[in-house]
């Protein structure tokens, strides 16, 4: 009997380590593995009407301003460039998601490609989440300049990452699987700066 192949998180081997770290540092810091989602990379001229056609298909607005993201019914739309978006869906199968978006974009000279396996998601949560990321990232990550709704492609250490702000204590880190192990090692090492005792004193 043929066995069904199931997708496995590229950081599955780090899961126990991250759970132990999160338990030890709660509520200061938590590093969690994200769900695997279907993702397509959409390229379409924003002036062509293709973006409107895609909005009909994905059921939500595409972000209009640079470095911002919007929520879709079962995923996210992240603006990666002037004519480039990353559209994710936790509900659709990758091939269906690619087909639906591509069909809408092709009519306007655009295209969409399935990139579900290109990136993997890591959540950085807790009151010190932004401080932790700042140890390897040159962006100003304070909530005032990187509020909820912002996203940015930048460097974390030596790895290219996509940072997505969901809230003040809630950030999503999207990274290529081949760099994910490096990023986790970097963050776990940086998390040693945040001993649980130091922050326990501050919390009443």
């Amino acid at each position: 009997m043929a066995e069904t192949l199931t997708a496995r998180h590229p950081l599955e081997g780090h899961r126990d380590q991250l759970e132990a770290l999160s338990a030890a540092l709660a509520p200061t810091l938590a590093l969690e593995l994200g769900e695997l989602v279907a993702a397509v990379d959409l390229r379409v001229d924003p002036g062509s009407g293709g973006a409107d056609a895609v909005e009909q298909v994905v059921g939500g607005p595409l972000p209009a301003r640079p470095d911002t993201w919007t929520a879709l019914p079962a995923g996210q739309a992240l603006r990666l460039g002037p004519d480039e978006w990353l559209l994710t869906s936790a509900a659709a199968r990758p091939e269906d998601w690619e087909f639906a978006v591509d069909e809408a974009a092709t009519a306007h000279g655009g295209m969409a490609v399935d990139v579900s396996a290109q990136r993997t998601v890591l959540w950085v949560r807790g009151s010190a989440a932004r401080e932790l990321l700042s140890t390897g990232c040159a962006l100003d990550l304070r909530p005032r300049s990187f509020p909820s709704g912002r996203c940015a492609q930048t460097l974390l250490g030596q790895a290219a990452v996509l940072l997505v702000a969901h809230g003040e204590d809630d950030l999503q880190l999207v990274v290529r699987p081949s760099f994910a192990g490096y990023v986790v090692d970097l963050l776990v090492d940086a998390a040693r700066e945040f001993p649980p005792s130091r922050h326990r004193k501050e919390t009443p």
Binding site: G47, P66, D67, P82, A138, Q153
Partner: protein, 91 residues
């Protein structure tokens, strides 16, 4: 390290960018008609001014778009940053 103002992403670390050489080097209208020396001049010869220099830069760790920037070669300061290449879109 200095900040470079990407036309799309805004000011970012210089580390995120890659250099693309002199800007506005036009491809020859009739490449087959060039002599070897003319072709070598097109391929290899570039200006090396002391002062403002129009260059191509790519925001390779960010939006991955090419743009033109004028940099002062004496001070390494960016005088101006031009629009994105091959795109009408503006932030």
């Amino acid at each position: 390290m200095q900040l470079i103002a990407c036309p799309w992403c805004g000011p970012r670390e210089e580390l995120e960018f890659s250099y693309g050489g002199q800007a506005h080097v036009a491809y020859p209208a009739d490449p087959a008609g060039l002599t070897d020396e003319q072709w070598a001049r097109y391929v290899f010869f570039r200006d090396n001014p002391k002062g403002p220099f129009a260059e191509r830069w790519a925001h390779s760790a960010g939006c991955r778009r090419w743009f033109t920037a004028v940099r002062d070669t004496r001070t390494h300061q960016f005088v101006s940053v031009g629009p994105l290449a091959g795109s009408e879109a503006t932030p």
